[in-house]
């Protein structure tokens, strides 16, 4: 028997929106194989009573290939509290379809009720992990539907699978909104007015250029949102009414720190404006506004700052903000500006290994890892949530099979400084051994990297969250009793986690330095 696995297919997927707060979902699913039956024979629908959600009118049935219809009886539908914590409760309705066999269709329908009205803007997916033959979204008068990421959004939508490091916004969705009740001009005016009101306070000033001021805000002011001992803001200190209070008290929320930076920059004579990342510039609505920035007028445009985000070195925005559109709320009206991206040089990883080869094929030596820019910020944020033991365990996971000792980690708490990690490493069985020779691969760090994106089955392109570069230097000393008879730089090779099937994208985002990548051949001395 030759195995041919045909995908199941969603024949129909309907969502009918009824005001003030109901969504009726209808799904018909064709199952073609035993694997489909095993995978899609049980359905679980989550809902949150805490958020005023209820599920009503659930009907489900199996339609056998001969057309016979077997409804799922009410007693076979289970309502389960999957998480209860205090007043918060998350529940599911779940059931198994009866008498399923390949060729059967399963269908179900239920109404999702929102006691507080529809949570607008409402984003409804048009794709799922199976291809969808027909997708119907019924929108009542008074609401607008904005279709995104699809050419034909109603029929024959391909399957969509979540994959690591896929570009954001790949999933076809429809966004349901109220008709715009405002304009970007009005919103910008409102933002600018609020910003000016918040800045109008006791003056605060400090010497230095803009980068120095941003650094000062990060280092001098404790960021209460990111406090390591209080991530949930439980028992958060009193809010700061003015930037001067933030300056005086030495702590602040990200917004208060940004305001302080704006006040300092203005005091230094700069033209300063409030800005926010905009999700969709074509949809003037407050819900489209995302993270905030401070824009400082430059001779040819703006420089943007966000010192409310900790651990960013000079010139960097949060990597989620890079390349996005920002609305700058100037008194003259809104300006839409594309935010700059950081470069591979700014987000640099340097890995240095000084290793002594052993006659038994193992190596021992010192490793130094240095991370800057976003590469450093990611490590610093992760470290906030880790105990020293967890940091050590995480480091050991990066070097599977190696013995790691005497670990020193520097600069985790310093906002702009590179993170430096030093340790001693021993790797057994590192060399390839023939009866007469030892071959020590120079690609020391590549040994510990696994393939990050298996080529088979990948459906979406790879997009790294920010541009970065990796520079490796490996020095290997021959063991006693051996002579190094040869070493030479290998031909340039891709990083192990480079997706071979997307070389263009990879090269666009990553630079690569070939120094030190050698195979060392050593022979026993006579």
């Amino acid at each position: 028997m030759l195995l041919l696995l045909a995908l199941a297919e969603v024949l129909f997927w309907g969502t009918e929106i009824q005001l003030p707060g109901q969504l009726t979902h209808t799904v018909r699913l064709q199952l073609n194989t035993p694997a489909d039956v095993a995978r899609y024979g049980v359905v679980t629908v989550p809902y949150s009573p805490t958020r005023g959600q209820t599920l009503l009118g659930l009907r489900a049935a199996t339609v056998l290939p001969n057309g016979h219809r077997l409804p799922v009886p009410a007693e076979a539908i289970f309502d389960t509290a999957v998480v209860k914590r205090g007043d918060h409760e998350q529940r599911t309705l779940s059931w198994a379809f009866s008498a399923l066999e390949p060729g059967a269709v399963v269908e179900y329908e239920y109404t999702e009720c929102h006691a507080d009205g529809l949570p607008l803007p409402l984003r409804l997916p048009l794709q799922r992990e199976l291809p969808v033959r027909s997708r119907e979204v019924t929108v009542p008068a008074g609401l607008l539907a904005h279709y995104r990421n699809c050419q034909n959004c109603r029929t024959h939508l391909p399957a969509y699978r979540e994959e690591p490091d896929a570009p954001a916004g790949g999933l076809a969705i429809v966004e349901i909104t109220l008709p715009p009740e405002t304009t970007w001009s009005a919103l910008a005016a409102e933002l600018a007015a609020r910003f000016e009101a918040e800045l109008a306070s006791a003056p605060v000033a400090a010497p230095g250029d803009l980068e120095t001021l941003a650094e000062l805000c990060r280092t001098r002011i404790q960021n209460v949102l990111y406090r390591t001992d209080n991530l949930t803001l439980r028992g958060a200190p009193e809010p700061n009414p003015t930037p001067a209070d933030t300056w005086r008290r030495g702590y602040g929320t990200p917004h208060e720190i940004n305001l302080l930076f704006a006040a300092l920059a203005r005091a230094a004579g700069h033209q300063v404006f409030y800005a926010q990342v905009v999700n969709r510039p074509d949809l003037p609505d407050p819900s489209q506004l995302q993270s905030e920035l401070i824009a400082v007028r430059q001779p040819h445009g703006y420089a943007f700052f966000n010192p409310g985000v900790p651990y960013l070195s000079a010139g960097l925005l949060d990597f989620d903000e890079e390349g996005r559109t920002a609305l700058v709320a100037t008194p003259a009206g809104p300006e839409f500006v594309t935010l700059p991206r950081s470069s591979t040089c700014q987000n640099r990883t340097e890995r240095t290994a000084h290793l002594l080869a052993q006659p038994d094929g193992s190596v021992h030596g010192a490793i130094t890892l240095t991370y800057s820019g976003h590469a450093a910020a990611l490590r610093k944020r992760r470290a906030e949530r880790q105990s020293p033991a967890e940091r050590l365990a995480a480091l050991r996971q990066e070097f599977p099979g190696a013995l790691i000792e005497n670990v020193e980690i520097e600069n985790l708490a310093l906002p702009a400084a590179p993170v430096r990690i030093r340790f001693q490493v021993t790797v057994s069985d590192y060399a390839d051994r023939s009866p007469r020779r030892l071959f020590f691969p120079g690609r020391f760090f590549a040994r510990f990297a696994s393939t990050r994106y298996p080529a088979a089955g990948r459906t979406q392109p790879v997009e790294f969250p920010f541009a970065f570069s990796v520079h490796d230097t490996v020095t290997l000393v021959a063991p006693s009793g051996h002579q190094r008879v040869f070493h030479r730089g290998l031909e340039q090779e891709r990083l192990r986690y480079s997706p071979a099937e997307f070389p263009e994208l990879y090269q666009k985002w990553v630079t690569f330095e070939d120094a030190g990548r050698e195979v060392f051949l050593m022979e026993r001395l006579p």
Partner: protein
């Protein structure tokens, strides 16, 4: 304050105990008290005190209690943290999280409530819970030590109705017993075997079962399951339909087993307090639903077999921890899985209808050579058979002049080896699994599966871009692919034939490698490299000869 002190006198009993060096946290008290009434119903009070010693030990400031939300009740669950030098603060009940105990099951009344406290080094976390639990039979277990932490005092107390005999067996350590209280002190971290106490109560009334022997257990379980295996008219009709035209018992068994194996595994647990966890749904119900859990599916197969006059028995096993089944403690509690044993002309056939990938007559590795109990009166504990899988593999490779490698693999797998491949194929992960684990690019994959008969044939074509490393005048190549993780004992016979482009000259080959269970040898024959490696079924590790290189030189 007085109430708290009274409540936590057990806390005061251990609060000043010294902690050992080097531990991240120290369990000062682990205590359980069970009061059993005449019906077997248990009121269980659990207490724990944990001192946090290092930041890494902070996550040990947690506790959880399981309860039956339908037939039982969680009466109380409270927890406190005493900061270093401070007073005990009770944790807000709003911080407790309640979840299903077995989220993978479609429905189960079993739930668990948990608390994870914020307890800095030097602080002490302590808790108390009380649960009322119905019990279908009067047996109790207690683990003196749960985690990798050292324990200062671990104690179990039992209060049984007057006149009931209490039989106690301990595993891993011998606790001090005073009446119906058992105690262990100063338990080191990470013992080789977790100390455990197993109690059987022999009631003086006939309403509750008495488990003095395995035969008692088998009889009790059989009583709960036999009725469900009666073939009703729809079951008989289905059996006749599935076996129409089949002439031999083996063919009929094969057909019925394949049918039930094809039904979905869906677990719905109800009436656990009345032994529902050991009671299958009636065969006719499972047939009409088209799904069931392990005991449901095995029982439906029993009914179908009975409809065509073939004998079979349910067999209780433990699929995740066979060491829990101890001959000296007869109990249904130690089993978590049901399979079937079928009386076939060739002998007894064991079969797990819940495993979709093993053919009839083959058991998953976790169930091979494992203790098992036939559910029939008079049965004693038996062992399931061991059945090594087998792989016969031929690989042909060609090393091109530029170092590229193209290869072909022809493989036949049997038993658990075939089932492991089948599972990956069913999950549509097989080619990506091969690519990522072997470091190759699969260009063609064909599988011919004899399922539900045993045997799976696979043909793979693959390429490797640049497997040959250059070291001056020499070139290093490791032509063998690493062996994939083997599913239990498997015999492997692999022959690799390598054709070298005439530019390549073999400078050096590995020496033969041999151990009790493994052998590998390299030959140069008529310009071809031939490598053979064999593994006999064994639990011994595989020697990674795929890491041994062949040294080549290129002709100018």
């Amino acid at each position: 304050m007085l109430a708290l002190l009274l409540l936590t006198s057990w806390f005061q009993e251990v609060a000043s105990a010294a902690s050992p060096m080097g531990a991240d946290a120290h369990v000062l008290l682990r205590e359980e008290s069970v009061i059993m009434d005449q019906t077997g119903r248990q009121t269980i009070t659990t207490r724990g005190v944990v001192r946090i010693l290092t930041p890494a030990g902070a996550h040990h400031a947690r506790a959880g209690v399981a309860y039956d939300s339908a037939a039982g009740q969680l009466l109380e669950f409270r927890a406190w943290v005493q900061a270093p030098g401070g007073e005990a603060d009770e944790i807000d009940p709003q911080e407790f999280v309640d979840r299903p105990l077995a989220p993978a099951e479609l429905h189960s009344p079993l739930r668990q409530r948990q608390i994870e406290a914020n307890a800095p080094p030097g602080s002490v976390f302590f808790y108390q819970s009380t649960v009322v639990a119905p019990a279908a039979f009067p047996q109790v277990e207690f683990e003196f030590q749960e985690s990798e932490l050292p324990v200062h005092l671990s104690r179990f107390r039992l209060s049984a109705p007057a006149g009931w005999e209490v039989q106690a067996i301990s595993f891993g350590s011998s606790p001090h017993r005073a009446g119906n209280t058992w105690e262990l002190r100063q338990l080191p971290a990470r013992p080789a075997q977790l100390p455990r106490l197993a109690l059987t109560l022999l009631p003086n009334q006939p309403a509750l079962p008495r488990f003095a022997t395995w035969s008692d257990v088998a009889g009790w379980l059989a009583t709960r399951s036999d009725a469900a295996a009666q073939p009703t008219p729809p079951v008989i009709a289905q059996a006749e339909s599935l076996t129409a035209g089949l002439t031999t018992p083996q063919q009929r068994i094969q057909a019925l087993a394949a049918y039930v194996q094809g039904l979905r595994y869906v677990a719905i647990n109800q009436n656990l307090g009345q032994g529902g966890g050991f009671t299958p749904a009636p065969a006719a119900t499972v047939l009409s639903r088209g799904y069931g859990d392990c005991k449901d599916k095995a029982t439906l197969l029993r009914a179908l077999l009975r409809a065509v006059n073939i004998n079979s028995w349910l067999v209780a096993t433990n699929s995740s921890d066979r060491a829990r089944v101890r001959p000296e403690w007869p109990s249904p509690r130690v089993f978590n899985h049901a399979i079937i044993a079928i009386e076939a002309p060739s002998g007894l056939l064991y079969f797990d209808p819940s495993d979709p990938h093993h053919a009839l007559g083959g058991l998953p590795p976790a169930l091979q050579g494992a203790p098992a109990l036939f559910l029939r009166s008079g049965a004693s504990l038996a062992m399931t058979p061991e059945q090594a899988g087998a792989i016969e593999r031929q690989i042909t490779l060609r090393l091109e002049h530029d170092g590229r490698v193209s290869g072909k693999i022809l493989e036949t797998a049997h038993g658990s080896a075939a089932a492991a491949t089948r599972a990956l194929v069913a999950a549509e992960m097989y080619d990506s699994y091969l690519s990522s684990r072997l470091g190759i690019q699969v260009t063609q994959l064909k599988i011919q599966d004899s399922f539900p008969e045993d045997g799976l044939h696979m043909y793979v074509e693959y390429e490797q871009a640049a497997p040959v490393a250059t070291a001056g005048p020499l070139h290093v190549w490791k032509p063998l692919l690493p062996w994939l993780e083997l599913p239990g004992p498997v015999a492997v016979n692999e022959t690799v034939t390598i054709e070298l482009h005439p530019r390549w000259i073999v400078e050096e080959m590995p020496e033969p490698v041999q151990s009790a269970s493994f052998s590998g040898a390299w030959f140069l024959e008529d310009g071809k490299l031939i490598i053979n490696r064999q593994l006999r079924p064994s639990s011994a590790g595989v020697i990674p000869v795929e890491r041994l290189p062949i040294v080549l030189r290129q002709e100018r």
